[in-house]
């Protein structure tokens, strides 16, 4: 069997469109995840045990919400979210319909990673900045976030890769993208060639994200 025959079922235009859809879902949801997750992570950190604004009640509540969202299987979240998604985007289908559940699924995960990255910052740095007469806002923007930058880029990378697999799942509710192709053609119609191509595309995407993330982490590590 020659190579061309093996890819007989593959509609390359379709693959290309699906790849674009996946990218839009990925970067759209990543953007909102970082936008919401970063402040949430900072809040979790500040309210956490033995931190600047230790607030046991607030921390316990935030923690609980984050844990509930994280323990909910994404496929369930996808379905539970439908009414809410329709409310925001006007549709539960396609790329626009996938982004809200993706963001809700990834934000708590990302926020936890940010919290961990901030905890890695030496307490002495915070103390030194306090001793200069910095306000809490200044401590966060001038010391904590710059010092945690490698950790935060690592968190964004891990989150982006998690989102890639989430977008594939979002195919189930008709979100489009590579995952959708893999399910509808590769799985349901037994077109192994489509399955192989979509999986390879996803693999390439993950590889590119990981090496890009690693480069950023190294660049900002200054060590």
């Amino acid at each position: 069997m020659d190579a061309l025959n093996f890819f007989a079922n593959v509609d390359w235009a379709e693959i290309w469109l699906a790849t674009i859809d996946t990218m839009i879902m990925l970067f759209g949801s990543l953007f909102f995840t970082v936008l919401l997750g970063l402040p949430l992570g900072v809040l979790l950190f500040l309210c956490g045990p033995r931190q600047m604004f230790e607030q046991k009640g607030v921390y316990a509540l935030l923690s609980l919400i984050v844990n509930i969202l994280r323990s909910l299987p994404f496929i369930i979240l996808l379905i539970v979210m439908i009414p809410f998604t329709v409310l925001i985007t006007g549709t539960s289908l396609g790329v626009a319909g996938a982004i809200p559940p993706l963001v809700v699924g990834a934000t708590p995960f990302f926020a936890r990673l940010v919290e961990t990255a901030l905890r890695e910052v030496d307490r002495g740095i915070i103390e030194a900045t306090q001793s200069m007469g910095a306000t809490t806002r200044q401590i966060i923007t001038n010391a904590l976030l710059p010092e945690a930058r490698p950790g935060i880029f690592a968190a964004i990378t891990v989150t982006a890769i998690t989102l890639v697999s989430y977008t594939a799942m979002a195919g189930v509710v008709g979100a489009g993208g590579l995952g959708d192709l893999a399910i509808r053609f590769g799985y349901q119609r037994f077109q192994t060639d489509v399955m192989v191509v979509t999986v390879v595309m996803l693999l390439v995407l993950v590889q590119v994200l990981q090496s890009l993330g690693d480069k950023l982490v190294v660049h900002f590590s200054r060590k």
Partner: protein, 335 residues
């Protein structure tokens, strides 16, 4: 002037009150290098952090230049902290910022100077600590001593009147320690800056401090001028620190001296007396013989001192002792 008035501090750990500092009063004069020495857990670190309220006191007042620091609100406290520099054992530099940006940080936070004024000030400060060629480097590219110099430049950036040093040389090797201490002494002399430092090494106290307070179990057990405390320690804790510095084991020494005939005295010379040919003169005039059992000649800050332990035999011993006492020498009869 920094005044502690009955300041105390207790921590609450798991519902229990743990005292860190018993009610303490202390005065630190302007322009002094004041050392607080103690073992870990003695309360010295708490004491230092109370000055800029990185630790909140449980009671008492801390008055700095007539103002009650303990009564400051958040805004006043931030203003006050800008006038108090601080350096740390582990330097606490921001790894993500260059040397120049680290030094500029307090100025950037204060937000009073323009970018070009800040750059000018940073250049000046880096020249002062001898790091003008390292401005664009990151802390990870520097040695420990260089990092502490960056820390010092950073602490001086806002022209503070007080510099707090938290075990600033404890992470450095002896040679680097000496050069950092020299820099601190220089800064104290030239900028008329009050320096409060904490350490667990008597050597650090001896090299740079004017006055010292010895802390043990949450209180000051002895204080005075460094020469006084160092040469004539009273409290057991102080004696231990001095012996550590001199690397003398008292028990061993007592055993050694047991075999020596005659009286044993310890003479302490200070200043010019250190170089006077006293021993020879007295021995000739009174006919006593002496042998030196232990001795040390060194400096306390800039003043030379000598401390000799002698075994004295024969001759007119009382006359010899009178001569020692009459000269500018402190004599202690050990046996």
């Amino acid at each position: 002037m920094i005044e502690f008035q009955h300041v105390h501090k207790t921590y609450r750990v798991a519902g229990r009150e743990i005292p860190a500092l018993n009610p303490t009063s202390l005065t630190i004069e302007d322009g002094q290098v004041f050392g607080l020495i103690g073992h870990s857990g003695a309360g010295k670190s708490t004491m230092l952090r109370l000055i800029n309220r990185l630790e909140e006191p449980s009671g008492g007042k801390i008055i700095v230049d007539g103002e009650d620091v303990t009564a400051f609100n958040a805004t006043q406290l931030r203003g006050f902290r800008q006038q108090v520099g601080m350096i740390f054992q582990h330097f606490n530099l921001l790894a993500s910022k260059t040397v120049a940006d680290n030094v500029a940080l307090p100025l950037t936070l204060a937000g009073e100077l323009s970018r070009s004024e800040i750059d000018k000030r940073v250049t000046e400060l880096l020249a002062r600590v001898g790091l003008q060629d390292h401005a664009r480097k990151y802390p990870a590219q520097l040695s420990g001593g260089q990092k502490q110099r960056v820390g010092i430049a950073r602490a001086l950036s806002t022209n503070p009147k007080i510099l707090l040093c938290d075990e600033a040389t404890s992470a450095l090797d002896p040679q680097t320690t000496a050069s950092v201490l020299q820099l601190l002494a220089e800064i104290n002399r030239e900028l008329k800056l009050t320096i409060v430092l904490i350490t667990h090494e008597m050597d650090v106290i001896r090299r740079v401090c004017d006055r010292v307070a010895v802390m043990d179990a949450g209180q000051i057990v002895e204080q005075g001028s460094v020469a006084e405390v160092f040469l004539h320690p009273q409290h057991p804790t102080t004696k231990r620190f001095v012996q550590e510095d001199e690397q003398v084991d008292e028990g061993e020494q007592r055993d050694d001296f047991a075999h020596v005939p005659g009286r044993i005295v310890r003479l302490t010379f200070q200043g010019d007396a250190t170089y006077a040919p006293l021993l020879g003169t007295v021995a000739r005039e009174t006919g006593v013989d002496y042998s030196i059992l232990a001795g040390r000649i060194d400096r306390i800050k800039d003043v030379p001192y000598g401390q000799l332990t002698l075994a004295v035999t024969g001759g007119d011993m009382e006359a010899a002792f009178d001569r020692f006492t009459a000269a500018d020498v402190h004599m202690e009869v050990l046996r």
